[in-house]
Protein backbone atom coordinates (compact mmCIF):
# COMPACT_ATOMS: atom_id res chain seq x y z
CA UNK A 1 0.00 0.00 0.00
CA UNK A 2 1.32 3.44 -0.88
CA UNK A 3 0.37 7.07 -0.38
CA UNK A 4 -2.67 7.99 -2.50
CA UNK A 5 -2.86 11.60 -3.83
CA UNK A 6 -6.68 11.64 -3.57
CA UNK A 7 -6.48 10.73 0.14
CA UNK A 8 -3.86 13.46 0.69
CA UNK A 9 -6.05 15.97 -1.17
CA UNK A 10 -9.02 15.13 1.06
CA UNK A 11 -6.92 15.77 4.18
CA UNK A 12 -5.51 19.03 2.76
CA UNK A 13 -9.03 20.28 1.95
CA UNK A 14 -10.16 19.40 5.46
CA UNK A 15 -7.28 21.33 7.08
CA UNK A 16 -7.88 24.27 4.72
CA UNK A 17 -11.49 24.58 5.93
CA UNK A 18 -10.52 24.19 9.61
CA UNK A 19 -7.76 26.80 9.50
CA UNK A 20 -9.92 29.18 7.46
CA UNK A 21 -12.55 29.00 10.24
CA UNK A 22 -9.82 29.60 12.85
CA UNK A 23 -8.47 32.60 10.92
CA UNK A 24 -11.95 34.01 10.22
CA UNK A 25 -12.99 33.83 13.88
CA UNK A 26 -9.65 34.92 15.41
CA UNK A 27 -10.90 38.40 16.38
CA UNK A 28 -13.82 36.88 18.24
CA UNK A 29 -11.60 35.20 20.85
CA UNK A 30 -9.98 38.12 22.52
CA UNK A 31 -11.89 38.56 25.78
CA UNK A 32 -12.35 35.93 28.46
CA UNK A 33 -16.09 35.46 27.88
CA UNK A 34 -15.56 34.84 24.16
CA UNK A 35 -12.59 32.65 24.80
CA UNK A 36 -14.17 30.42 27.45
CA UNK A 37 -17.88 30.24 26.49
CA UNK A 38 -17.97 31.72 22.95
CA UNK A 39 -19.76 34.84 24.25
CA UNK A 40 -22.91 32.66 24.76
CA UNK A 41 -23.91 33.39 21.15
CA UNK A 42 -24.09 29.91 19.61
CA UNK A 43 -27.38 28.77 18.00
CA UNK A 44 -28.94 25.30 18.40
CA UNK A 45 -27.92 23.71 15.08
CA UNK A 46 -24.28 24.85 15.29
CA UNK A 47 -24.13 23.95 18.98
CA UNK A 48 -25.85 20.59 18.36
CA UNK A 49 -23.36 19.66 15.67
CA UNK A 50 -20.48 20.85 17.89
CA UNK A 51 -21.91 18.85 20.79
CA UNK A 52 -22.01 15.71 18.67
CA UNK A 53 -18.47 16.23 17.34
CA UNK A 54 -17.08 16.93 20.80
CA UNK A 55 -18.93 14.13 22.59
CA UNK A 56 -18.05 11.54 19.95
CA UNK A 57 -14.34 10.94 19.96
CA UNK A 58 -11.93 8.55 18.24
CA UNK A 59 -13.23 6.14 20.88
CA UNK A 60 -16.49 6.25 18.89
CA UNK A 61 -15.13 6.52 15.39
CA UNK A 62 -12.35 3.92 15.73
CA UNK A 63 -13.20 2.17 19.00
CA UNK A 64 -16.86 1.24 18.56
CA UNK A 65 -16.40 -0.51 15.18
CA UNK A 66 -13.31 -2.22 16.67
CA UNK A 67 -15.36 -3.50 19.61
CA UNK A 68 -18.17 -4.72 17.33
CA UNK A 69 -15.39 -6.43 15.34
CA UNK A 70 -14.17 -8.11 18.57
CA UNK A 71 -17.37 -8.70 20.59
CA UNK A 72 -20.01 -9.15 17.88
CA UNK A 73 -23.67 -8.10 17.65
CA UNK A 74 -24.41 -7.79 21.42
CA UNK A 75 -22.12 -4.74 21.45
CA UNK A 76 -24.62 -2.90 19.19
CA UNK A 77 -26.53 -2.26 22.45
CA UNK A 78 -23.62 -0.18 23.75
CA UNK A 79 -24.14 2.23 20.83
CA UNK A 80 -27.89 2.34 21.55
CA UNK A 81 -27.00 3.13 25.18
CA UNK A 82 -24.76 6.05 24.18
CA UNK A 83 -27.30 7.72 21.87
CA UNK A 84 -30.17 6.80 24.22
CA UNK A 85 -28.44 8.70 27.03
CA UNK A 86 -28.35 11.93 25.04
CA UNK A 87 -32.03 13.04 25.17
CA UNK A 88 -32.02 12.56 28.97
CA UNK A 89 -29.55 15.46 29.24
CA UNK A 90 -32.09 17.89 27.72
CA UNK A 91 -34.05 18.30 30.93
CA UNK A 92 -31.72 16.69 33.46
CA UNK A 93 -28.71 19.01 33.08
CA UNK A 94 -28.70 21.07 29.84
CA UNK A 95 -31.59 23.39 30.65
CA UNK A 96 -30.81 23.88 34.39
CA UNK A 97 -27.10 24.48 33.77
CA UNK A 98 -27.79 26.99 30.97
CA UNK A 99 -30.21 28.80 33.30
CA UNK A 100 -27.45 28.94 35.92
CA UNK A 101 -24.96 30.10 33.20
CA UNK A 102 -21.54 29.40 34.70
CA UNK A 103 -18.19 29.78 32.93
CA UNK A 104 -16.54 26.51 33.83
CA UNK A 105 -17.43 22.98 34.83
CA UNK A 106 -16.28 23.35 38.46
CA UNK A 107 -18.23 26.61 39.01
CA UNK A 108 -21.33 24.63 39.80
CA UNK A 109 -19.65 22.50 42.47
CA UNK A 110 -18.08 25.54 44.16
CA UNK A 111 -21.38 27.48 44.14
CA UNK A 112 -23.84 24.70 44.96
CA UNK A 113 -21.70 23.26 47.75
CA UNK A 114 -20.50 26.66 48.92
CA UNK A 115 -16.76 26.06 49.06
CA UNK A 116 -13.97 26.94 46.62
CA UNK A 117 -12.16 23.72 47.59
CA UNK A 118 -14.70 21.70 45.63
CA UNK A 119 -13.07 23.12 42.50
CA UNK A 120 -9.91 21.28 43.52
CA UNK A 121 -11.69 18.08 44.56
CA UNK A 122 -13.92 17.93 41.46
CA UNK A 123 -10.83 18.75 39.42
CA UNK A 124 -9.11 15.46 40.35
CA UNK A 125 -11.33 12.99 38.40
CA UNK A 126 -11.86 15.62 35.71
CA UNK A 127 -8.10 15.88 35.22
CA UNK A 128 -7.69 12.06 35.14
CA UNK A 129 -10.51 11.66 32.61
CA UNK A 130 -9.47 14.71 30.60
CA UNK A 131 -5.87 13.65 30.17
CA UNK A 132 -7.04 10.16 29.16
CA UNK A 133 -9.25 11.72 26.52
CA UNK A 134 -6.57 14.00 25.09
CA UNK A 135 -4.25 10.97 24.90
CA UNK A 136 -6.79 8.91 22.99
CA UNK A 137 -7.55 11.86 20.70
CA UNK A 138 -3.87 12.20 19.83
CA UNK A 139 -3.72 8.42 19.22
CA UNK A 140 -6.79 8.67 16.97
CA UNK A 141 -5.39 11.62 15.02
CA UNK A 142 -2.10 9.72 14.66
CA UNK A 143 -3.81 6.57 13.32
CA UNK A 144 -5.62 8.61 10.66
CA UNK A 145 -2.42 10.47 9.73
CA UNK A 146 -0.76 7.05 9.44
CA UNK A 147 -3.53 5.92 7.06
CA UNK A 148 -3.11 9.08 4.97
CA UNK A 149 0.66 9.46 4.90
CA UNK A 150 1.79 5.86 5.54
CA UNK A 151 4.41 7.06 8.02
CA UNK A 152 5.69 5.39 11.23
CA UNK A 153 3.35 5.63 14.22
CA UNK A 154 5.76 7.60 16.44
CA UNK A 155 6.13 10.27 13.76
CA UNK A 156 2.31 10.29 13.39
CA UNK A 157 1.95 10.92 17.13
CA UNK A 158 4.32 13.92 16.97
CA UNK A 159 2.51 15.31 13.92
CA UNK A 160 -0.87 14.73 15.56
CA UNK A 161 0.25 16.57 18.70
CA UNK A 162 1.44 19.55 16.62
CA UNK A 163 -1.85 19.64 14.69
CA UNK A 164 -3.98 19.45 17.87
CA UNK A 165 -1.81 22.07 19.57
CA UNK A 166 -1.96 24.52 16.64
CA UNK A 167 -5.71 24.06 16.37
CA UNK A 168 -6.38 24.98 20.01
CA UNK A 169 -3.54 27.52 20.29
CA UNK A 170 -5.10 29.82 17.68
CA UNK A 171 -8.72 29.08 18.57
CA UNK A 172 -10.47 29.29 21.90
CA UNK A 173 -14.15 28.43 22.29
CA UNK A 174 -15.45 30.52 19.35
CA UNK A 175 -13.15 28.94 16.78
CA UNK A 176 -13.48 25.51 18.30
CA UNK A 177 -17.29 25.74 18.41
CA UNK A 178 -17.65 26.80 14.77
CA UNK A 179 -15.01 24.45 13.40
CA UNK A 180 -16.26 21.67 15.65
CA UNK A 181 -19.72 22.13 14.19
CA UNK A 182 -18.19 21.65 10.73
CA UNK A 183 -16.37 18.61 12.06
CA UNK A 184 -19.68 17.14 13.30
CA UNK A 185 -20.99 17.40 9.77
CA UNK A 186 -17.77 15.95 8.27
CA UNK A 187 -17.65 12.90 10.55
CA UNK A 188 -21.32 12.07 9.98
CA UNK A 189 -20.97 12.28 6.20
CA UNK A 190 -17.86 10.06 6.40
CA UNK A 191 -19.55 7.41 8.55
CA UNK A 192 -22.82 7.30 6.59
CA UNK A 193 -20.98 7.22 3.25
CA UNK A 194 -18.72 4.37 4.39
CA UNK A 195 -21.75 2.41 5.66
CA UNK A 196 -23.46 2.96 2.29
CA UNK A 197 -20.39 1.55 0.53
CA UNK A 198 -20.38 -1.51 2.83
CA UNK A 199 -24.10 -2.24 2.35
CA UNK A 200 -23.81 -1.71 -1.42
CA UNK A 201 -20.74 -3.97 -1.55
CA UNK A 202 -22.75 -6.88 -0.09
CA UNK A 203 -25.91 -6.12 -2.07
CA UNK A 204 -28.02 -5.01 0.90
CA UNK A 205 -28.51 -5.75 4.60
CA UNK A 206 -29.40 -9.42 3.95
CA UNK A 207 -26.23 -9.88 1.92
CA UNK A 208 -24.14 -8.24 4.64
CA UNK A 209 -25.71 -10.46 7.33
CA UNK A 210 -25.17 -13.64 5.29
CA UNK A 211 -21.52 -12.70 4.63
CA UNK A 212 -20.91 -11.97 8.33
CA UNK A 213 -22.51 -15.30 9.37
CA UNK A 214 -20.49 -17.22 6.76
CA UNK A 215 -17.30 -15.61 8.06
CA UNK A 216 -18.07 -15.66 11.78
CA UNK A 217 -20.98 -17.95 12.73
CA UNK A 218 -21.14 -16.75 16.35
CA UNK A 219 -21.39 -13.04 15.50
CA UNK A 220 -25.13 -12.68 16.26
CA UNK A 221 -25.13 -15.05 19.28
CA UNK A 222 -26.56 -13.85 22.60
CA UNK A 223 -26.26 -15.11 26.18
CA UNK A 224 -28.41 -18.07 27.34
CA UNK A 225 -29.94 -18.87 23.93
CA UNK A 226 -26.76 -19.86 22.04
CA UNK A 227 -24.33 -22.65 22.85
CA UNK A 228 -21.34 -20.41 22.19
CA UNK A 229 -21.31 -16.72 23.06
CA UNK A 230 -20.20 -14.18 20.47
CA UNK A 231 -17.35 -13.44 22.93
CA UNK A 232 -16.66 -14.60 26.53
CA UNK A 233 -17.41 -11.05 27.78
CA UNK A 234 -20.87 -11.34 26.22
CA UNK A 235 -21.68 -14.74 27.75
CA UNK A 236 -23.86 -13.26 30.52
CA UNK A 237 -26.46 -10.49 30.67
CA UNK A 238 -24.11 -8.42 32.83
CA UNK A 239 -21.77 -8.05 29.85
CA UNK A 240 -24.50 -6.80 27.49
CA UNK A 241 -26.19 -4.53 30.05
CA UNK A 242 -22.82 -3.39 31.44
CA UNK A 243 -21.55 -2.16 28.08
CA UNK A 244 -24.93 -0.44 27.56
CA UNK A 245 -24.40 1.59 30.76
CA UNK A 246 -20.66 2.38 30.53
CA UNK A 247 -21.17 5.51 28.40
CA UNK A 248 -24.95 5.92 28.85
CA UNK A 249 -25.04 8.87 31.29
CA UNK A 250 -22.00 10.62 29.83
CA UNK A 251 -23.87 13.23 27.82
CA UNK A 252 -25.58 14.52 30.96
CA UNK A 253 -22.53 14.81 33.19
CA UNK A 254 -19.21 14.67 31.29
CA UNK A 255 -17.44 18.06 31.54
CA UNK A 256 -16.62 18.37 27.83
CA UNK A 257 -20.30 18.17 26.84
CA UNK A 258 -21.73 20.00 29.85
CA UNK A 259 -19.62 23.09 29.02
CA UNK A 260 -21.19 23.23 25.55
CA UNK A 261 -24.57 23.87 27.21
CA UNK A 262 -23.01 27.08 28.62
CA UNK A 263 -22.23 28.42 25.13
CA UNK A 264 -25.81 28.49 23.78
CA UNK A 265 -27.87 31.68 23.36
CA UNK A 266 -30.52 30.64 25.89
CA UNK A 267 -32.23 27.66 27.54
CA UNK A 268 -34.39 27.07 24.48
CA UNK A 269 -31.27 26.79 22.31
CA UNK A 270 -29.64 24.45 24.88
CA UNK A 271 -32.62 22.06 24.70
CA UNK A 272 -32.86 22.25 20.91
CA UNK A 273 -29.13 21.65 20.52
CA UNK A 274 -29.55 18.22 22.14
CA UNK A 275 -32.12 17.35 19.46
CA UNK A 276 -29.63 18.25 16.71
CA UNK A 277 -26.81 16.41 18.45
CA UNK A 278 -28.97 13.25 18.61
CA UNK A 279 -29.95 13.57 14.96
CA UNK A 280 -26.38 14.10 13.73
CA UNK A 281 -24.72 11.71 16.18
CA UNK A 282 -27.34 9.00 15.68
CA UNK A 283 -26.77 9.04 11.92
CA UNK A 284 -23.03 8.70 12.47
CA UNK A 285 -23.51 5.82 14.90
CA UNK A 286 -25.80 4.08 12.41
CA UNK A 287 -22.87 4.14 10.00
CA UNK A 288 -20.42 2.86 12.62
CA UNK A 289 -22.65 -0.15 13.40
CA UNK A 290 -22.52 -1.24 9.77
CA UNK A 291 -18.77 -0.65 9.40
CA UNK A 292 -18.01 -2.59 12.62
CA UNK A 293 -20.34 -5.44 11.61
CA UNK A 294 -18.74 -5.79 8.18
CA UNK A 295 -15.14 -5.10 9.32
CA UNK A 296 -13.86 -8.65 9.73
CA UNK A 297 -15.40 -10.01 6.54
CA UNK A 298 -14.28 -6.92 4.57
CA UNK A 299 -10.69 -7.21 5.78
CA UNK A 300 -10.54 -10.98 5.22
CA UNK A 301 -12.07 -10.94 1.77
CA UNK A 302 -10.98 -7.63 0.26
CA UNK A 303 -8.00 -6.06 2.04
CA UNK A 304 -4.93 -5.72 -0.25
CA UNK A 305 -2.66 -7.23 2.43
CA UNK A 306 -4.67 -10.49 2.48
CA UNK A 307 -2.84 -11.43 -0.72
CA UNK A 308 0.46 -10.96 1.11
CA UNK A 309 2.24 -14.16 1.99
CA UNK A 310 1.54 -15.45 5.47
CA UNK A 311 -1.51 -13.30 6.25
CA UNK A 312 -4.58 -15.49 6.65
CA UNK A 313 -7.03 -13.49 8.73
CA UNK A 314 -8.03 -10.00 9.88
CA UNK A 315 -5.83 -10.12 12.97
CA UNK A 316 -2.90 -10.95 10.68
CA UNK A 317 -3.53 -7.74 8.71
CA UNK A 318 -3.59 -5.73 11.92
CA UNK A 319 -0.46 -7.49 13.17
CA UNK A 320 1.24 -6.52 9.90
CA UNK A 321 0.32 -2.84 10.51
CA UNK A 322 1.78 -3.13 13.99
CA UNK A 323 5.15 -4.38 12.79
CA UNK A 324 5.34 -2.36 9.55
CA UNK A 325 4.50 1.01 11.12
CA UNK A 326 5.41 0.44 14.77
CA UNK A 327 1.88 1.01 16.10
CA UNK A 328 2.34 0.70 19.84
CA UNK A 329 0.31 -1.01 22.55
CA UNK A 330 -3.20 -2.27 21.92
CA UNK A 331 -4.00 0.50 19.46
CA UNK A 332 -3.49 -1.60 16.39
CA UNK A 333 -6.96 -3.16 16.87
CA UNK A 334 -8.36 0.36 16.59
CA UNK A 335 -6.99 0.36 13.05
CA UNK A 336 -9.56 -2.34 12.11
CA UNK A 337 -12.11 0.29 11.09
CA UNK A 338 -9.65 1.98 8.72
CA UNK A 339 -8.46 -1.43 7.44
CA UNK A 340 -12.06 -2.39 6.63
CA UNK A 341 -12.49 0.75 4.52
CA UNK A 342 -9.09 0.19 2.89
CA UNK A 343 -10.58 -3.15 1.79
CA UNK A 344 -13.20 -1.30 -0.26
CA UNK A 345 -10.33 0.13 -2.36
CA UNK A 346 -11.90 3.55 -2.86
CA UNK A 347 -9.40 6.42 -2.40
CA UNK A 348 -12.32 8.86 -2.40
CA UNK A 349 -14.02 7.01 0.47
CA UNK A 350 -10.77 6.70 2.39
CA UNK A 351 -10.13 10.45 1.97
CA UNK A 352 -13.62 11.29 3.31
CA UNK A 353 -13.16 8.83 6.17
CA UNK A 354 -9.72 10.22 7.03
CA UNK A 355 -11.14 13.77 7.06
CA UNK A 356 -14.02 12.61 9.26
CA UNK A 357 -11.60 10.76 11.55
CA UNK A 358 -9.32 13.77 11.88
CA UNK A 359 -12.40 15.90 12.52
CA UNK A 360 -13.65 13.76 15.38
CA UNK A 361 -10.21 13.40 16.98
CA UNK A 362 -9.39 17.10 16.83
CA UNK A 363 -12.85 18.15 18.03
CA UNK A 364 -12.58 15.98 21.12
CA UNK A 365 -8.98 16.96 21.80
CA UNK A 366 -9.90 20.63 21.63
CA UNK A 367 -13.05 20.22 23.73
CA UNK A 368 -11.20 18.41 26.51
CA UNK A 369 -8.13 20.64 26.32
CA UNK A 370 -10.38 23.69 26.78
CA UNK A 371 -11.97 22.04 29.84
CA UNK A 372 -8.53 21.28 31.29
CA UNK A 373 -7.21 24.75 30.39
CA UNK A 374 -10.03 26.41 32.28
CA UNK A 375 -9.73 23.94 35.16
CA UNK A 376 -5.97 24.37 35.64
CA UNK A 377 -5.81 28.09 34.83
CA UNK A 378 -8.94 30.02 35.76
CA UNK A 379 -10.35 27.59 38.36
CA UNK A 380 -7.35 26.24 40.26
CA UNK A 381 -4.66 28.89 39.74
CA UNK A 382 -7.13 31.77 39.78
CA UNK A 383 -10.12 30.93 41.98
CA UNK A 384 -8.49 28.47 44.42
CA UNK A 385 -4.94 29.82 44.69
CA UNK A 386 -5.71 33.49 44.03
CA UNK A 387 -3.64 34.26 40.91
CA UNK A 388 -5.05 37.03 38.67
CA UNK A 389 -3.13 35.85 35.59
CA UNK A 390 -5.86 33.57 34.08
CA UNK A 391 -8.51 36.35 34.26
CA UNK A 392 -6.19 39.19 33.16
CA UNK A 393 -4.62 37.30 30.28
CA UNK A 394 -6.94 34.37 29.43
CA UNK A 395 -5.46 33.81 25.99
CA UNK A 396 -1.90 33.63 27.30
CA UNK A 397 -2.88 31.42 30.25
CA UNK A 398 -4.79 29.07 28.00
CA UNK A 399 -1.93 28.77 25.55
CA UNK A 400 0.58 27.94 28.28
CA UNK A 401 -1.75 25.27 29.67
CA UNK A 402 -2.32 23.91 26.17
CA UNK A 403 1.43 23.45 25.69
CA UNK A 404 1.67 21.54 28.97
CA UNK A 405 -1.39 19.35 28.39
CA UNK A 406 -0.59 18.41 24.80
CA UNK A 407 3.06 17.68 25.61
CA UNK A 408 2.24 15.39 28.56
CA UNK A 409 -0.44 13.57 26.55
CA UNK A 410 1.89 13.16 23.57
CA UNK A 411 4.36 11.27 25.79
CA UNK A 412 1.63 8.80 26.80
CA UNK A 413 0.33 8.51 23.23
CA UNK A 414 3.60 6.97 22.01
CA UNK A 415 2.57 3.82 23.85
CA UNK A 416 -1.17 3.95 24.55
CA UNK A 417 -2.11 2.11 27.76
CA UNK A 418 -5.15 0.43 26.14
CA UNK A 419 -7.52 0.44 23.16
CA UNK A 420 -9.00 3.91 22.64
CA UNK A 421 -12.45 2.69 23.69
CA UNK A 422 -11.01 1.19 26.88
CA UNK A 423 -9.34 4.51 27.76
CA UNK A 424 -12.65 6.23 27.09
CA UNK A 425 -14.66 3.74 29.18
CA UNK A 426 -12.32 4.15 32.15
CA UNK A 427 -12.52 7.96 31.92
CA UNK A 428 -16.33 7.85 31.74
CA UNK A 429 -16.78 5.59 34.77
CA UNK A 430 -14.27 7.53 36.92
CA UNK A 431 -15.99 10.84 36.16
CA UNK A 432 -19.60 9.63 36.19
CA UNK A 433 -19.41 7.82 39.54
CA UNK A 434 -17.46 10.60 41.27
CA UNK A 435 -18.64 14.01 40.01
CA UNK A 436 -21.89 12.77 38.41
CA UNK A 437 -24.00 12.36 41.60
CA UNK A 438 -23.07 15.78 43.11
CA UNK A 439 -23.91 17.45 39.78
CA UNK A 440 -27.24 15.78 39.03
CA UNK A 441 -28.49 15.47 42.60
CA UNK A 442 -27.14 18.94 43.38
CA UNK A 443 -29.65 20.28 40.88
CA UNK A 444 -32.54 17.95 41.70
CA UNK A 445 -32.22 17.22 45.42
CA UNK A 446 -32.15 19.97 48.03
CA UNK A 447 -30.75 17.54 50.63
CA UNK A 448 -27.42 17.05 48.74
CA UNK A 449 -24.61 18.10 51.08
CA UNK A 450 -21.07 19.44 50.82
CA UNK A 451 -19.63 16.57 52.88
CA UNK A 452 -21.32 14.03 50.61
CA UNK A 453 -19.96 15.77 47.50
CA UNK A 454 -16.37 15.79 48.76
CA UNK A 455 -16.55 12.24 50.15
CA UNK A 456 -18.22 10.83 47.06
CA UNK A 457 -15.70 12.36 44.66
CA UNK A 458 -12.67 11.14 46.64
CA UNK A 459 -14.01 7.67 47.49
CA UNK A 460 -15.47 6.88 44.06
CA UNK A 461 -12.41 8.14 42.18
CA UNK A 462 -10.23 5.82 44.28
CA UNK A 463 -12.57 2.82 44.05
CA UNK A 464 -13.25 3.06 40.31
CA UNK A 465 -9.60 3.66 39.32
CA UNK A 466 -8.36 1.02 41.76
CA UNK A 467 -10.82 -1.70 40.74
CA UNK A 468 -10.28 -1.01 37.03
CA UNK A 469 -6.51 -1.43 37.32
CA UNK A 470 -6.81 -4.37 39.73
CA UNK A 471 -9.12 -6.23 37.31
CA UNK A 472 -6.60 -5.75 34.49
CA UNK A 473 -3.66 -6.79 36.68
CA UNK A 474 -5.35 -9.77 38.38
CA UNK A 475 -7.76 -11.05 35.71
CA UNK A 476 -6.21 -9.78 32.47
CA UNK A 477 -9.04 -7.45 31.41
CA UNK A 478 -10.71 -4.27 32.70
CA UNK A 479 -14.06 -5.87 31.94
CA UNK A 480 -14.15 -8.67 34.54
CA UNK A 481 -15.57 -7.94 38.00
CA UNK A 482 -12.41 -7.17 39.95
CA UNK A 483 -13.20 -9.58 42.81
CA UNK A 484 -14.15 -12.49 40.51
CA UNK A 485 -12.80 -15.98 41.02
CA UNK A 486 -10.29 -16.35 38.10
CA UNK A 487 -11.89 -19.71 37.24
CA UNK A 488 -15.39 -18.26 37.06
CA UNK A 489 -15.15 -14.63 35.99
CA UNK A 490 -18.16 -12.29 35.85
CA UNK A 491 -18.32 -9.70 33.08
CA UNK A 492 -18.82 -6.15 34.43
CA UNK A 493 -17.44 -3.88 31.67
CA UNK A 494 -15.19 -1.13 33.07
CA UNK A 495 -16.63 -1.80 36.56
CA UNK A 496 -19.74 0.13 35.38
CA UNK A 497 -21.68 -0.60 38.60
CA UNK A 498 -19.72 2.16 40.41
CA UNK A 499 -21.97 4.74 38.71
CA UNK A 500 -25.03 3.32 40.52
CA UNK A 501 -23.06 2.70 43.72
CA UNK A 502 -21.90 6.35 43.56
CA UNK A 503 -25.48 7.66 43.54
CA UNK A 504 -26.52 5.44 46.47
CA UNK A 505 -23.38 6.34 48.43
CA UNK A 506 -23.96 10.07 47.81
CA UNK A 507 -27.59 9.84 49.00
CA UNK A 508 -26.67 7.90 52.15
CA UNK A 509 -23.84 10.32 53.12
CA UNK A 510 -26.07 13.33 52.37
CA UNK A 511 -28.78 12.02 54.67
CA UNK A 512 -26.22 11.60 57.45
CA UNK A 513 -24.63 15.05 57.14
CA UNK A 514 -25.52 18.72 57.51
CA UNK A 515 -27.45 20.28 54.60
CA UNK A 516 -26.20 23.40 52.76
CA UNK A 517 -27.47 26.89 53.64
CA UNK A 518 -31.04 27.72 52.55
CA UNK A 519 -30.05 30.66 50.32
CA UNK A 520 -27.47 28.48 48.50
CA UNK A 521 -30.04 25.71 47.94
CA UNK A 522 -32.58 28.26 46.71
CA UNK A 523 -30.16 29.85 44.24
CA UNK A 524 -28.32 26.81 42.89
CA UNK A 525 -30.94 24.08 43.15
CA UNK A 526 -34.52 25.37 43.27
CA UNK A 527 -34.11 28.49 41.09
CA UNK A 528 -32.44 26.68 38.18
CA UNK A 529 -35.17 24.07 37.83
CA UNK A 530 -37.97 24.59 35.26
CA UNK A 531 -40.55 27.16 36.25
CA UNK A 532 -43.84 25.56 37.40
Amino acid sequence: MGVNPIVILGAVLYFAVIFYIGWYSRKASMDSSDFYVAGRKVGPIVNGSALAATYFSPASFLGLPAFIFILGYPFWWALVGIIGGMPIATLLTAAPLRKYAPTSFTDYYADRYDTKWLRLVAGIPTLIGGLAYVILSIVGTALFLLAILQIPFNLSVILASIVVFAYIYFGGMVATTISTAFQGFAMTVASVLAAGYVIFNFGGLNGLTDAVLANSGNFFNLPYVSETASHPLMATWTGVVGFFFVWHFGFSAMPYTVVRFFTTQDIKAARRSVFWAVTIGGAMYGGLVIIGTGARVLIETLHPLMQTEGITNAMGVLQHMKTAYGVAGASVTDYSMIAAVEGLKSPFLLSVLAAGGLAIAMATASGWTMVLNVLLGRDLLGKVFGSSWPEDKPVQATRVMTILIVFVCMLFAFKPPALVLDISGAAFIVILCSVGPPLILGIWWTRATTTAAITNILVMTTLSCGSWMYAKYKLGSYHWFFLSDPANKISTPHQFYWVFVGFIFFIVVSLMTKPCKDDVIQKYSLDIRPEE
Partner: protein, 93 residues
Protein backbone atom coordinates in the same frame (compact mmCIF):
# COMPACT_ATOMS: atom_id res chain seq x y z
CA UNK B 1 -35.93 14.54 44.80
CA UNK B 2 -36.55 15.55 41.16
CA UNK B 3 -39.35 17.93 42.25
CA UNK B 4 -40.24 20.15 39.31
CA UNK B 5 -38.97 17.74 36.66
CA UNK B 6 -41.44 17.96 33.72
CA UNK B 7 -43.68 14.89 33.31
CA UNK B 8 -42.57 14.45 29.71
CA UNK B 9 -39.10 13.54 31.02
CA UNK B 10 -40.45 10.45 32.79
CA UNK B 11 -42.59 9.49 29.80
CA UNK B 12 -39.55 9.71 27.48
CA UNK B 13 -37.25 7.71 29.74
CA UNK B 14 -39.95 5.05 30.28
CA UNK B 15 -40.34 4.71 26.51
CA UNK B 16 -36.57 4.47 25.94
CA UNK B 17 -35.75 1.98 28.70
CA UNK B 18 -38.95 0.01 28.03
CA UNK B 19 -38.10 -0.44 24.36
CA UNK B 20 -34.47 -1.34 24.97
CA UNK B 21 -34.91 -3.82 27.82
CA UNK B 22 -37.98 -5.42 26.22
CA UNK B 23 -35.95 -6.33 23.13
CA UNK B 24 -32.86 -7.30 25.16
CA UNK B 25 -35.02 -9.77 27.13
CA UNK B 26 -36.55 -11.16 23.93
CA UNK B 27 -33.06 -11.65 22.47
CA UNK B 28 -31.90 -13.56 25.55
CA UNK B 29 -34.97 -15.80 25.69
CA UNK B 30 -35.89 -16.54 22.05
CA UNK B 31 -33.12 -18.33 20.10
CA UNK B 32 -32.08 -16.52 16.92
CA UNK B 33 -34.37 -13.54 17.64
CA UNK B 34 -32.13 -10.84 16.06
CA UNK B 35 -32.03 -12.74 12.76
CA UNK B 36 -35.77 -13.41 12.44
CA UNK B 37 -36.98 -11.63 9.32
CA UNK B 38 -39.09 -8.51 9.73
CA UNK B 39 -39.96 -6.26 6.78
CA UNK B 40 -37.63 -8.37 4.61
CA UNK B 41 -34.46 -7.91 6.71
CA UNK B 42 -33.15 -9.36 10.01
CA UNK B 43 -35.29 -7.83 12.77
CA UNK B 44 -32.31 -6.41 14.69
CA UNK B 45 -31.79 -3.83 11.92
CA UNK B 46 -35.30 -2.51 12.60
CA UNK B 47 -35.71 -2.61 16.41
CA UNK B 48 -32.06 -1.97 17.29
CA UNK B 49 -30.29 -0.18 14.42
CA UNK B 50 -33.02 2.09 12.99
CA UNK B 51 -35.48 2.59 15.84
CA UNK B 52 -33.51 1.94 19.06
CA UNK B 53 -30.37 3.73 17.97
CA UNK B 54 -31.80 6.63 16.03
CA UNK B 55 -35.52 7.29 15.42
CA UNK B 56 -36.70 6.74 19.00
CA UNK B 57 -34.07 9.09 20.41
CA UNK B 58 -34.79 11.79 17.82
CA UNK B 59 -38.46 11.53 18.72
CA UNK B 60 -37.81 11.71 22.48
CA UNK B 61 -35.48 14.71 22.24
CA UNK B 62 -38.02 16.42 19.93
CA UNK B 63 -40.82 15.80 22.45
CA UNK B 64 -38.65 17.09 25.29
CA UNK B 65 -37.99 20.48 23.75
CA UNK B 66 -41.41 21.01 22.16
CA UNK B 67 -43.33 20.11 25.33
CA UNK B 68 -41.11 22.39 27.40
CA UNK B 69 -41.50 25.29 24.96
CA UNK B 70 -45.30 24.86 25.00
CA UNK B 71 -45.33 24.68 28.79
CA UNK B 72 -43.23 27.85 29.03
CA UNK B 73 -45.57 29.64 26.62
CA UNK B 74 -48.52 28.68 28.81
CA UNK B 75 -46.72 29.98 31.91
CA UNK B 76 -45.88 33.26 30.11
CA UNK B 77 -49.51 33.63 28.96
CA UNK B 78 -50.75 33.00 32.52
CA UNK B 79 -48.36 35.63 33.87
CA UNK B 80 -49.48 38.12 31.21
CA UNK B 81 -53.11 37.58 32.13
CA UNK B 82 -52.33 38.15 35.80
CA UNK B 83 -50.47 41.37 34.95
CA UNK B 84 -53.39 42.65 32.85
CA UNK B 85 -55.96 41.70 35.49
CA UNK B 86 -54.01 43.33 38.31
CA UNK B 87 -55.23 46.75 39.56
CA UNK B 88 -53.22 49.54 37.92
CA UNK B 89 -53.73 52.11 40.66
CA UNK B 90 -54.91 54.67 38.07
CA UNK B 91 -58.22 56.25 38.91
CA UNK B 92 -61.09 55.61 36.47
CA UNK B 93 -62.58 59.00 37.00
Amino acid sequence: MFKGMPKIFWAGTALMYGWIFFFMILEMTIPGFPLKKFMGVPACYIYNWIIGLWLMNIMISFLYYTFEEKREEQIAARKNRKTQDAPTGVSGK
